[in-house]
């Protein structure tokens, strides 16, 4: 049996709306409240939602996303910030920051309150310990995925190797090693093109 296609229903989900600061805020707040699991999970969700509302086309969104990666800070924040600036100016950008930052902030205050109430019970301590125990594994899997998706050249291997050795040997200077290291790597790539 053929299911009748519902053209009207399909149209409804792609209904275009005006990107007002309030709508941008609500859209991002909703996504940031309901999506768990890191920037690279959440960015495509944001892209879809913006596209569905007719605010931006996919190609433009991912162009901005790739530009956003040059900036520090959470990738969901920088992508939302730059996209919203593009489609709704300064007010849009401010709405985007609030939409990304406020929901987790409120959630964390609630969780923090919960922990101060129950953090001392034996059961909850065991829960936190178990939850914490998997963190090295998750970092390892992030490393694995990032390494797998990179085009490795001898130059890249040397850069990562040297920087890692410096970071592990002098952890208390990590901040300066990173900034200096990235600048040196950039200049190196600028001067010696191979």
């Amino acid at each position: 049996m053929k299911i009748p296609s519902r053209k009207n229903g399909a149209k409804k989900t792609t209904k275009k709306t005006e990107p007002t600061p309030l709508r941008i805020f609500l859209t991002l707040a909703q996504i940031n409240t309901l999506t768990l699991g890191g920037g690279y999970v959440i960015v495509p969700v944001i892209g879809n939602s913006f596209k569905k509302q007719g605010w931006i086309d996919e190609e433009e969104f991912y162009r901005i996303f790739s530009r956003a990666q040059v900036f520090p800070g959470p990738i969901a924040l920088s992508t939302s910030f730059l996209c919203s600036y593009k489609i709704a100016g300064v007010k849009g950008a401010i709405a985007a920051v609030l939409g990304v930052v406020l929901p987790p902030f409120i959630a964390l205050i609630l969780v923090g309150g919960f922990i101060s109430l129950y953090g001392d019970t034996e059961l909850f301590k065991r829960f936190l310990k178990g939850a914490g125990a998997v963190v090295p594994g998750l970092v390892g899997s992030m490393l694995w995925k990032t390494a797998k998706n990179r085009k490795w050249t001898t130059r890249a291997l040397i850069e990562v190797g040297l920087l890692t050795i410096l970071l592990v040997l002098f952890p208390s200077a990590a901040f300066f090693i990173l900034i200096g290291g990235i600048v040196v790597i950039y200049l190196g790539r600028l001067i010696w093109k191979s």
């Binding site: 800070g73 829960f127 178990g130 998997v134 990562v160």
Partner: protein, 170 residues
């Protein structure tokens, strides 16, 4: 005073928070362990930050601020960690014409930087002794999240629940 120190620490973290949340975890650890909390407490905090909505660096900032200096500590730390990124983006939008940075080169350089940060994070978070339990949890979670599509959040919550149930055994 405490709030000022926390803000400064997270402002610094915000400057180098490249390449996805996990890479910056090692640096956050460097700033707050052991002066503000133990390694174990830190791992639990990161687990909470990852299994609640929102970017991990932001959530870690809110939690550390909250634990050390209450509501205003949380507010200050959260604002501090995004202060530099927002400033950098605003300045770039305003003056992009005058900034001669080559994007593809910057991209590759940052990739190398964040890769080194992730390795450092992993290095400092590995279990410090040979008690089998933490290694089993870590290796199992690595296997699950690296080779299946299962979201890490479920691994965190599941392993918390398992450890809690183990505690109920006689």
């Amino acid at each position: 005073m405490e709030i000022l120190k926390i803000s400064l620490a997270f402002f610094k973290i915000g400057i180098v928070a490249f390449g996805g949340g996990w890479s910056v975890v090692g640096l956050i650890k460097q700033e707050i362990v052991p002066s503000w909390m133990s390694v174990d407490a830190f791992s639990s905090l990161i687990a909470i930050a990852q299994s609640t909505p929102g970017p991990i660096a932001l959530n870690a900032a809110t939690l550390v601020g909250w634990q050390k200096a209450g509501f205003f500590g949380a507010l200050a730390a959260t604002f501090s960690v995004i202060a530099f990124p927002l400033l950098a983006m605003s300045l770039t939008l305003a003056f992009s014409r005058y900034i001669p940075i080559k994007k593809d080169l910057a991209d590759e350089s940052l990739r190398s930087g964040s890769m080194a940060m992730i390795i450092m994070t992993l290095w400092t978070l590995l279990p410090q002794n040979t008690i089998p339990m933490p290694w089993i949890f870590a290796l199992a979670s690595f296997g699950i999240t690296a080779f299946t599509q299962i979201n890490g959040v479920w691994v965190i919550l599941g392993s918390g629940a398992i450890n809690m149930l183990l505690g109920l055994l006689p």
